[in-house]
Symmetry: C2
Subunit: 143 residues, 2 copies
DNA sequence: TTTTATGTTGGATATAATCTAAAACGGTTT
DNA sequence: AAACCGTTTTAGATTATATCCAACATAAAA
């Protein structure tokens, strides 16, 4: 499914973000990308085609897009953070062994009882699954 | 509530970990500590009393304790990871503004439908709440 | 067109975490 | 109590990740 340039531009504008070639490139790449690339991978991919972006610009734009709620950042123990465009809602599965991040079909998560939140203001519940991905899971017992 | 040295030693042994003074000190500090310190904070706290530990040892032991399932690591976007001893089960609330990590009373989280996991092996579901902590939330409208 | 707040840049800097190889330790066996 | 050996600790170097900076460029508004 091709993505229409104007749709991305309107998405950015709708969040109060100017559409610069560099910012557009980051957003477009994340939208056409199924996986969860790191900032370094986005930097490399974006710079394979014009326009070129500096490393600082990649980080600046990722920060802006995350703040605007258009992109999600997944912090990883030790390793570089990973990013995805928030298309359809979904949860994440992180492999204990290879660190791969995979999407898991979304389902509603019950909120905590009001009492246990106190005066905190809840914005979102993030559900992360951990274990072994299909590639790292032991093969089905056989032979 | 004081923690009995032997209890910690037995906990370590039970996970196949030798009880060295340095490892003991990290575990004891995390157990008596209510918050979610960083490796640097643990390093500093442990070294205020004997025995002293090097930075590498703090990281080594945190890695071992996390692997053994005795300690939980909370990855933070950009900032240093935070750690806590897994006492009572609980969820985490992370403040958007100040980054503080707070415990939230545990409740059962529904697992994903078997179909959406495929051949993955699920080990745990981690539920993280985000928003504003009590200190950062706007004060109740008044004047 | 100007104007101006916003965005970009390369390089320097900061921060977090891991690696290294030598020395110390802690159980165990003679 | 001495020798032994796998584990642990250590200081410092190194790597990895992310942010800062100040000069310059530009998108969008006026
Ligand atoms: Mn995703
Ligand atoms: Mn906790
Ligand atoms: Zn895997
Ligand atoms: Zn806060």
């Amino acid at each position: 499914m091709a993505i229409y340039p104007d749709a991305i531009k309107r998405t950015l504008a709708g969040s109060g973000l100017r559409s610069t070639p560099q910012r557009y490139a980051v957003m477009a790449f994340l939208m056409e990308q199924a996986g969860h690339p790191t900032a370094a991978e986005i930097f490399e991919a974006v710079n394979r085609v014009d326009p070129r972006s500096s490393r600082a610009t990649i980080y600046n734009n990722l920060r802006d897009l995350v703040r605007a709620g258009l992109v999600r950042e997944v912090a990883m123990e030790g390793r570089a953070a990973r990013f995805d465009a928030r298309g359809m809602r979904h949860h994440h599965f992180i492999c204990d062994r290879c660190g791969n991040v995979e999407d898991v079909e979304w389902y509603k998560v019950p909120r905590p009882a009001a009492g246990s939140l106190g005066r905190r203001v809840l914005r979102e519940c993030e559900l992360i699954f951990r274990g072994l991905c299909a590639k790292c899971a032991p093969r089905r017992a056989s032979h």
